[in-house]
């Protein structure tokens, strides 16, 4: 069962914004804890993340930029914690994840990426001949 809160860790206020959007759309924003890297060294970020994973028993950590400090901090937990890291988070991914609490955290994370990833697309207007 995917019923533990998950963590969204991102640059600036992005995580708080994403969680607020999840709340607005589903009323399930409290299934996520938003964290930011602002003003933190890599070591502090890892320390804060470890403390939060411990505190809420999170099994999944969503991060934004694959090469970013949030993602690297989350990857550091893979060595000794039973967590799943999802990089490149977007809103559709979080929505799919949170609305499938019957899946295991691993299944929910994998499905969320399969559904959320392809939602990123480009659409041109008619004036461009499409």
């Amino acid at each position: 069962m995917n019923d533990q809160p998950a963590i969204v860790l991102a640059h600036g206020q992005l995580a708080a914004g994403l969680v607020s959007a999840v709340e607005q759309i589903t009323g399930m924003g409290n299934r996520f804890v938003a964290m930011s890297n602002t003003g933190l060294s890599g070591a502090e970020l890892e320390q804060n993340l470890r403390a939060m994973v411990e505190e809420i028993g999170a099994k999944v950590v969503f991060t934004d930029l694959p090469a970013g400090s949030c993602n690297i901090a989350a990857f550091r937990l893979l060595r000794d914690r039973d967590v799943v890291v999802v990089s490149g988070v977007n809103l559709p991914t979080l929505l799919h994840f949170v609305t499938h609490p019957n899946l295991s955290p691993e299944e929910a994370a994998t499905e969320a990426v399969e559904r959320g990833g392809p939602t990123l697309k480009v659409t041109f207007g008619k004036t461009r001949g499409n």
């Binding site: 003003g39 933190l40 060294s41 890599g42 694959p66 090469a67 970013g68 400090s69 690297i72």
Partner: protein
């Protein structure tokens, strides 16, 4: 093109480096100089995992970097060299005999014994003096987290801290 930016940043490889600096520079390679990371396959894998595949990442100790710096500077692609702290950059600068002419302070974060100098820069008095020492050896030191921000010379940091002219 060679190494165009020598940067001190305690987050090492992260968004500001890869995207903020890397995109406008059309970055071709990164050199991460750190004695600990150079001896840890796990740490190297960790940093490589998030980096775009077209970007080469080289890991080196200070001793290895001092031997390879000329080779990296002959690379036709633009590169960034990173250290996590001032001491590592100072040791590299000292070992490579005036090859490094400018150092960028990109991010040194809060620690109990440090004072905030800029939003992204916290330094002890000893670290400020170490930077002054670098400048005395001909290395220009400026603080600048991202290319869009204004470079701030070390002299301005010293003036703001009341340590201008300190030994």
């Amino acid at each position: 093109m060679a190494i165009e930016l020598y940067r001190i940043d305690d987050r090492l490889i992260h968004g500001q480096v890869i995207v903020g600096w890397g995109q406008p520079m059309n970055l071709g390679f990164l050199v991460l100089v750190d004695d600990e990371v150079a001896n840890s396959d796990w740490e190297q894998e960790l940093y490589r995992m998030g980096v775009p595949p077209e970007l080469d990442v080289f890991f080196a100790s200070v001793a290895e970097a001092s031997r390879k710096l000329d080779q990296w500077n002959r690379d036709k692609r633009p590169g960034i060299l990173l250290t996590a702290d001032i001491d590592t950059m100072a040791r590299l600068a000292g070992a490579t005999h005036a090859t490094i002419r400018a150092v960028n302070l990109g991010g040194i974060h809060h620690r109990a014994d440090r004072v905030e100098r800029l939003r992204y820069l916290y330094l002890t008095g000893g670290e400020l003096r170490a930077l002054q020492e670098l400048e005395r050896h001909g290395v220009e030191v400026t603080a600048r987290d991202v290319p869009a921000s204004r470079p701030i010379p070390l002299s301005a940091l010293l003036e703001a801290s009341g340590e201008a002219g300190a030994a």
